[in-house]
């Protein structure tokens, strides 16, 4: 103990000056200082993995079902690759990011990390993630994967994340409740005007129509239908010039809240989980959200739910397939090839995907989709079908969110809340959002 302690003190004194500064710049430079006790045996560093023993660390977020099947997939991979040992680290979404940031700061990221679109730029362009381009067609077989699906993980010309599956947004609803408003199903080509006309009947029927729109997602969609974008291509400012677009979108929405056709924020704040969601309890007709969320809400509601398209016009311009999540390889990984090989297995192996079943989005490999179709639950089948339709009826995704997106999303949610509480007019909100969002994005110049 005493010996260890004095050694520790000496080490600290020696590294005093670098202790804080080394947070970012040591990806490549002080590898030597970073020979990590737990990463693996250091014997194979810098060599290719074939035949040699390799230990990979992999981290993801999720809840119990995802943990369970992912561990199964890992076992399958280990059985096929006896020289590779994979150490799993998992947590729920919030905790995952709390852990990942210090790990990145200390260059201690796991070899494979699950990434979200809103963090991809942050981690990628700050040197934490490896460019996967060299591994395409080497370790990672992309023969059955569309170019579009792959480029969803690109920041600039670097591929920082490999797309594990895709989602689209749509309207998920209870047909029985919709009938109470006198409609069997929303028209395939319904417009925003149709939407507002229909939604404004909800209060009379003793229902809420939907629970509002996540501002950055759906305003982003709306802007795309108008040929505009939420962020400019460089990520240095907002991408739309005319605040009237903002007003056109949000003003009627806050009117719906005011009239009681959609729930006010305080009613939503009292919901504790999916189980007492207003839709599940039969108090709300539908919900606008991502397709991968359909399976969960269907399961909890335990009655038939349907999916309808987003309102238009120009839906095809607005709609896009979003990578649900990515696997990225850490820049500090010493086994990048092995990591890439595992990613290949995860996206291309049919047996593995019979366990994954689209939990991380509809698979990107056409071969996998074809092979696992027969094994899906009805709700999963609905999702796969919808995404297949969306593939043909959508446009290229915007680049991943710029650095600072997390701050803008929080800001946007706060401004939307103020509009829903009728504390601020849509016109003032538009101005405030532009001012503050541009201030955040200006740091990327």
């Amino acid at each position: 103990m005493g010996k260890k302690l004095s050694a520790a003190i000496a080490l600290i004194l020696a590294t005093t000056l670098t202790a804080c500064g080394s947070g970012g710049n040591n990806n490549n430079t002080n590898q030597a200082a970073n020979t990590n006790a737990n990463a693996s045996t250091s014997a194979n560093a810098g060599k290719t993995d074939t035949g040699e023993n390799v230990t990979l660390r992999i981290a993801w977020w999720g809840s119990q079902p995802r943990h369970d099947y992912t561990l199964e997939v890992i076992k399958m991979y280990e059985a096929a690759h006896p020289n590779v040992k994979i150490e799993a680290e998992y947590a729920n979404f919030d905790d995952y990011w709390k852990k990942l940031a210090p790990q990145a700061a200390a260059s201690e990221l796991p070899d494979i990390v699950q990434m979200d679109i809103s963090y991809l730029s942050q981690y990628g362009s700050k040197g934490q993630l490896a460019d996967l381009t060299p591994y395409l067609n080497n370790q990672i077989n992309v023969a059955d994967i569309s170019e579009n699906a792959i480029s969803g993980g690109k920041v600039g010309d670097k591929l920082y994340g490999f797309n594990l599956g895709v989602n689209a947004v749509n309207f998920q609803y209870d047909p029985e409740l919709l009938k109470k408003l006198g409609v069997d199903k929303p028209d395939d080509n319904w417009t925003w005007d149709d939407y507002f006309a229909l939604a404004s009947k909800a209060k009379e029927a003793g229902l809420y129509f939907d629970n509002g729109f996540r501002p950055e997602v759906f305003f982003g969609y709306y802007l795309r239908t108008k040929g505009q974008h939420l962020y400019n291509a460089e990520g240095t400012a907002l991408g739309y010039e005319d605040d009237q677009l903002f007003v056109d979108f949000f003003k009627p929405l806050s009117q719906l809240v005011k009239d009681g056709d959609t729930p006010p924020p305080d009613v939503k704040a009292q919901i504790k989980g999916l189980e007492d969601d207003l839709l599940v309890k039969g108090q709300q007709v539908g919900i606008f959200q991502w397709t991968n969320q359909f399976v969960g809400i269907q399961q909890v509601a335990n009655r038939p739910l349907e999916m309808a398209h987003m309102p238009g016009p120009d839906r095809e311009k607005g709609l896009y397939l979003k990578p649900s999540m990515y696997f990225s390889v850490a820049q500090n990984s010493k086994h990048k090839e092995s990591a890439a090989d595992f990613i290949n297995f995860f996206v291309n192996d049919v047996e593995a995907n019979k366990l994954i079943k689209g939990d991380r989005g509809v698979p990107v490999s056409s071969k996998v989709i074809e092979a696992i179709k027969g094994t899906l639950e009805p709700a999963q089948q609905q999702v796969f079908d919808y995404v297949a339709w969306a593939q043909e009826n959508s446009s290229q995704m915007d680049p991943p969110d710029p650095i600072g997106a997390a701050e803008i999303i929080t800001l946007f949610a706060s401004i939307a809340e103020q509009m829903d509480f009728q504390q601020i007019s849509a016109e003032d909100a538009a101005k405030q959002f532009r001012e503050e969002a541009n201030a955040i994005l200006a740091k990327n110049k």
Binding site: W61, D95, A105
Partner: protein, 278 residues
Amino acid sequence: MIAKKWRWSIYHIVAAGGAIVMIYPVIWLLMSSFKKSETIFTTSTQLIPAHWIWTNYSEGWQGIGGHTFGTYIYNTLVLVVLATIGAVLSSALVAFGFGRLNFRGKSFWFAIMMVTLMLPHDVTLVPQYILFSKIHWLNSIKPIVIPAYFGAPFFIFLMVQFIRTIPGELDEAATIDGCGKFRLFYRIILPLIIPAMATAAIFSFYWRWEDLMGPLLYLNKPSMYTVSMALKMYLDAETLSNWGAMFAMSIVSLLPVFAIFFFFQKHIVEGISTSGLK
């Protein structure tokens, strides 16, 4: 006599009434753990389950990825017991120094100690993580347990305050008897601050037991995960959550904390009273 009986009744009505208000949520938690997962929220105003089920406990106990909940409890116990012993004993030692001895720089070090309590951990977390990574302590319980052996400011301050309520004449008597400083500490002061040490032990145990940030940051392998980490595994904001299992295991994880409290609270009460000494 009648007045005494009245006082007795009123006392118990007040105390028991207050107790019920206080523990209602715990009872609710217990009852919910016997409900089906999907119905917990929809029947949240109804205390007694319509159908009693035990599967939440069996399902929850199975844990995640082949590690039963027993593994998590064992991991947590090891960590918590080691840290608590270290924190209580080292804090008592330091508290004696601050509370009873005079030396140059005492106020300075005391102020430093208070300052360490006032800086939010979020901003020292990353530098500290880097530090532990440089001395290769990551992925072990060392960063959580070992610092506990160097005194915990909260407990040090607590014990200092208790030591200062002990009459100083005792020391003088002991010093005249030829007691050294350490024997004074060990023979006279330590027995007198047992209530404070028991209090510190309860707090330390409970705080470590429920601490999420330390284990989350420093333990990577699922086989080393703690109870606080495991409880959050059942929940995820984006997908389905297993509330039933989470509630059932919350109840299970309360038991050790409960036991420790019950055991140590006696020492708060039965700590050697100073009455005989003065």
